[in-house]
Every structure is written in C-alpha cells, then in structure tokens.
Amino acid sequence: MSEILIKNANLCDPIQGINCENMDICIRDGKIVESVSENAEIIDAGGRLTMAGGFDGHTHSAGKINVGRFINPNDARRKLVPGLSGPEKRTEKTRAQVGYNTPNTYAIGYRYAKLGYTTICEAAIPMLAARHTHEEFKEIPILDKMGLSLFGSNWQVMEYIRDKEPEKLAAYVAWGLKASRGYGVKIVNAGGGEAWGWGKNVNGLYDPVPNFDVTPAEILMGLVEANEKLQLPHSVHVHCNNLGKPGNYETTIETMKMFEKVKPTVDRQSLHVTHVQFNAYAGTSWRDFETGAPMVSDYLNSANHLTFDLGQVIFGPAVTMTADGPVEYANSRLLHEKWSNQDIELEDASGVVPLSYSPKSFINAVQWAIGLELALLVEDPWKIMFTTDSPNGGSFVNYPEAFTYLMSAKKREQVISGFGQMALDRMVLPGIDRELSFYELAIMTRSMQSKMYSRPEKGNLKVGSDADIAIYDIIPGDIDPSVEHEKVKQAFSGAAYTLKDGKVVVKDGQIEATPMGRTYWVNAKVPADIDSAMQKDTDIKFKKYYTVSKSNYMVEDSYLPNPVEISTEGVF
C-alpha cells in the first residue's frame, strides 16, 4: 500500500466545481481517497495551482507521425522550445530525445508529462496499420493512451449504408474497434479518402462517393447510428468535409446541424467536431479569405449536442498529417512542399506535408486568430477542447504559449501588432477582450475530456478517480495572468510535480520516473448472428482485396502490454 498526502494544494477541479481552493489531496494505491494514514508520504504543494492531469483528446502521436519523422529528418535537431524540443542526451532516468513536431516516442511521453498531461488520444488509427500505432504506444512512456479508428471512407461501411443494413454496420464498427484496439469512431472528410483513390474529392455533404453511391451526409448519419447503437463511450469524432477551403464554415455548420436530431445513448455529446479552426473559413478564395469563426461560434453558442476542439495554429514549422489525402495533395502543390501520400487499401487515404506558419502571411495570421476567436467567442468552455491538432497546427510543446493567448489580451496584442493591415481586416480577434481563468483553462485541457470520452476517473480529482495530478509553480491568488503571462507560460512549461497513478513522474520540470501507461480500447458486444453475417462479408473483402490476411490484420493482445478493455452492450 502506498499513500501520499498532497498538502496545501490550490485545487482547480471544475468537475467538482472547485475553483482554486486550498485543500489537501489524499492518494492511496494510485487513486484519490478520502483520507490517508499518518505514514503517508507528504508533498507540500505550498498553495500552488493544482489540477487533474491534462488530457489531450486529439493529437497525432503514434502511427502517421512516423511518416512525418522520416520525411522531416531535420525536425530531429529543432530546438525551438527550450527543454521541450531538440536533441537531449540519455540520462539515468530517460532515453535520448530528439525532435520538435515529430519527436521520438520517448520524448512524446516525457514532454507531455512535463506539461502536466497524463492522457492522450491518438486521433487517427488506420485499422490496416493499427499494429504499428500500438507498437508506438508501447514505447510512449508514462501516458495513458487511446486511439480513434478511421471508418469514414471504408468500403464495407459505405456498402452497408448504401444497402441499408444498420445492424451489420454496427457489427462491423464493433469488429473494427476490436481489430484495431481502438476507442472510438473517427471520420475524416467522409467519403473523401475513397474519392482520392480516383484522384478526386467529395465537395461537401451531398456529393456522392465514386462507385459507392453514398454521400458524406449518409456516411456520417450511418456511422453515428452505429456509434449510438453500440453505446460507445465516445461520440463520433468528425473532421468535416472541405477542410482548409475558404468558405468551408458553411459545410461545418451544416454538418453540426445534421446531428441535432441524434439521440445519444450515453451521457455525452452526440458529435465531436475536430480542429474547427481549419473548418471555419469564410470567403470564396484565398484572395478574399477571412474568418468564419463568428458564424461558427454563433451556432455553437446556440447548440448543446456537440463538443469541438480548436486546432490552434502556432507560428513556426508544423507538420500536417491527416487521412484527408486530397487536402494534403493541395497543400503540397500550394506550398511546393514535400508530400507523402498513402492508400490505406479499402479503408481510407493518408497524407503528410510539412509547412511553416508565418505571422507575415495574412492567411496564416488569420488562421492563428480563428482558433483563438473560437475559444473566446464560444461562451461555454465545456464545449471546447484545447488542441493544436498537434503537430498539424503546431507541436503540443507550445501549449503553454497558447494558454497565454487565451489568458491574456495583452499577450494577444503583442502578437497581433506584428500583423499586416490585410490580416487585421480579415479577423475579429483584436475586438475581443475576454481572458480565460485557470478554471476555464482546466475545463478545456482536462475536465471536459472526462465527459467527452466517458472516462469518469480522468480529468478530475474526485474520490475514486485516478491520481493523475499536475502541480504548477503558480500561486493563483498572487498572479495576474493577464499581465504576468510570461510567468504563466513558464509554469505550464514544466510542472512542479506531475503524478501519474499516484507516482511522481515529474518534479521541478524534470522526469523522475517513467512507468508504463495503460491503453484503453472498446469491446462492443454484438449479437452472435449479426456478427457472423457481417464476418462473411469481411472474409470476402480479405480474400478479394486486402494485401493481408484477416489473422494478420487483427491487433493481438501482445501488442497491448497494459490494456484496459471497456465493454459496452450494443442495443439491437
């Protein structure tokens, strides 16, 4: 039995409604408890800001990031954020580290932990390559992990939707999650990945996918029905159609509206829309491009059925990586950049393109502003997850910098003062004076994720929850984040303490221990007859089309050294 007493913590735990109050936290065997014995080890938080461990619910940290690594070997030596990037020698406690946007697996674990984050969700697992994702998970220390499996351009999915076989579709989704050891359903540019196989794209929600005679709207509605039938812990996680195109905010709002009628079977949102920054563009071309954030925010303020994340842009080099193949082709042509393109056989497409966001580019400046506008114009922080869609908008190691944009209008002014007039004319950010509190920041970085992913033991420090805790070197009552934004950035860049399952993993910004985290996956139960009918169709796919056999496709148990199986009961 191991016990820890954290004394004098200034706790900010929105799930319990605790807003920066001084209290003690008791830990026994990795869980929060009511009280501990006198033998408990004592950590004196000294009145410093204490939160549940951070939870990045949308990051590209295993799988596709590896393509980013090999097309950007130069990223290994980038040292743009001190202590959180570039080459670092092996120590007694840590392995060697490299990289900035595409760090090695060990560095991903260490650096998230230094920021006080303890859980991540890989945003895109191509099922065919799921073994690779889990191989990387295995080598990411400290963090608990989960991943979302790609279903949005999958042949069998589209056929079941076309043929109106919702039960088989649900059975296939359940099987796909099991095969890939995934946690939820990701849909990227529904139908676009398949269209890209023919060098085409789908232009919005009602443009049929070549050869399948289904529209993106039908794919979205079919998959959400399956998602709710299976009572999955997470809602469908959607990367909207028309990403990165001026004028796309209309498609985004239309997509969000479509889900108003969905009744979730689990107590959570019925839709999560990801990296909305890339999908909140107004204008008709890059010439008259401008922010669409006010329109999207207006809608989000009126809607209660969904959550979204930002995809905030960070100036400097980034690497875009997405299953949205046609977008990556467009990026590579537009920017004359390196381009990786992959065909995921019957499932989707995939692309990787490095780029650099510059405040001198009016387009990049407006993109930067849009992310912040969304965060500040949407009133309810429980709808918002903070992300940079790392490393698409920028590396997660810049989160502390981005927090200061949210918490300090002065800091924003500093950045905005470097923009040209054209950029200023196309954004609304300079007129927004809202500054987020630590409480609101905690919601966006850990608390809302608890509800969004149905992980009640995460993102809060209630009795019974996991003792994943971050203590930051800030005394909330003594600091004005609006003015002292540099101090805020400093504190969030290296936690005074990060505890994972009640073990100190970071102390004074340095790694103390590197335990292996868990991998969550969802096993959704399906009636045997429906499952076997669906399996027959799957067998045909493997026989006729896949380059691998079914038995070599499934992620085996040995790939998950520390699995947590979440079972759900399908409603059929």
Binding site: I71, N72, P73, N74, D75, R77, H336
Partner: protein, 252 residues
Amino acid sequence: MQAVKLSLKKANKIPIEADTVSPDNFAGKTKEEIEAILAWYGNGQCPLGDFFTVEVEGSDSTENTKIVFDGDVSRVKRIGQGMSAGEIEINGNVDMHCGFGMKGGKITINGDADSWLGCEMKGGEIILNGNASYYVGSGYRGESCGMRGGKITVNGNAKDYLGEHMCGGEILVTGNVGLLPAISNNGGTIVIEGNATMPASEMKNGTVIIKGEVSDMLPSYKEDGTEEVEGVTYRKFVGDVNASGKGVLLVK
C-alpha cells in the same frame, strides 16, 4: 600567430567526430589544453590527445590561429564545423562534413573530401585540391536551405547533388560533376567548368553556369536568348518551370 599541428598517431577505423577541432576552440590554448579537448569516438568521448600528436607554436586569437593536419584523416569527420575565423589546412584526405556550417575563415584540403563538404556553410572559404564526394555545399537531410554564403572551390571532380538546396554563396568546380547538381536551389551561384548531368532540377532561384557538356538537359527550362559572362557567350535557360522557378541556367 598560433600554429597547431595535429598528426594522427595511428589510422582509425571507427570515425572520430572532430567537431571540436576549429580555430575557435583552439585559439589561446596550450598543447595540454588542446589534447584534453573531447571528441566523440563510437559511443563515448575521448580526448584529442588519445588520437593525435599535438604541437603548438605561439598563442593567439581565433583569426590568427592555423590548424594543420599532417597526413591522411579520411576517418575524421566534421573538422572545422561551425568555425568563424582562422585557418585549417589538411594535407591528405578528409572524412564527411568537413566545414559543416562554417561561418568564416578558410579550410584548405590537399587531398579528397568525402560527402557533405561545406554543408550549410554560411561564410568563409573552402579550397579542395582534390575530388569531392556527394552533397558539396548542400543542406542537412530534410532541410530546405543548404549553403547560404561563402565560397567552395573544388579543384577536381565532384559527385552527385552538388549544392543541393543551396540558398546563397558560390561553388566552383574545375572538373566534372555527377547527377543533379544544384537540385532544388533557391539562390547562390554554381560554376562547373567540366560536364554535368541533369543540372538545376527544381531550381527556384540562383545561377548555374556549365562550361562543359550537359547530359540530359531537363525539358522544364525555357530558353531565353543568350548571356555573356567573362567574355564567353552561353545559351540562357530560365526555370525550373516545374517549381515556378526564376533560376538562370547558362550552358554552352
């Protein structure tokens, strides 16, 4: 003036990573101090004195420090990396990454140089009296900007990818070069007195002059009259059109 002479005690098989060997690091130091400077060797670091006999004459500033390698150092890498002033003379062959990222001063090599000579160089001069291998004056793998300034003279031949991703500075090769010199260039000047194959592919900017034969001239260049350089008239091509380039390629 400070003169430092380094003689390899015995030929090494495992390369020595000699990025600490530069006038910047040696200036004002005694024989003992220089012998104690560490260099990577395999997975560990060893003092230079383990590898070299060190002779030092005088003591002076960086700009007045000259390092002479007496004999072949074909398994010694990164000599003169990042140097800002002073001089290095190598009397023999040298391994990869000689003069990597150098900012000033001069390196003279009386022998052949392995790949990545003067890679990401920003200033100063490299004179190679011998043949060069691949990627002279190029960028680090994956980087979009290679050599930015300074001058590399190769009095001999060079292999493929000469000046890859070069953004500035000058390269002169008196002999022949291999495939794809000046690939993806965005500035600078390359003069090749001998022959070249498929030059200036994806060049955005810069000037490439080829005095010898060009094999497999790329079709993605537009011919644009003639240009005279130092009394010689060349056919002028502009491109690479595939990269919307405005580079100038002058050929016979």
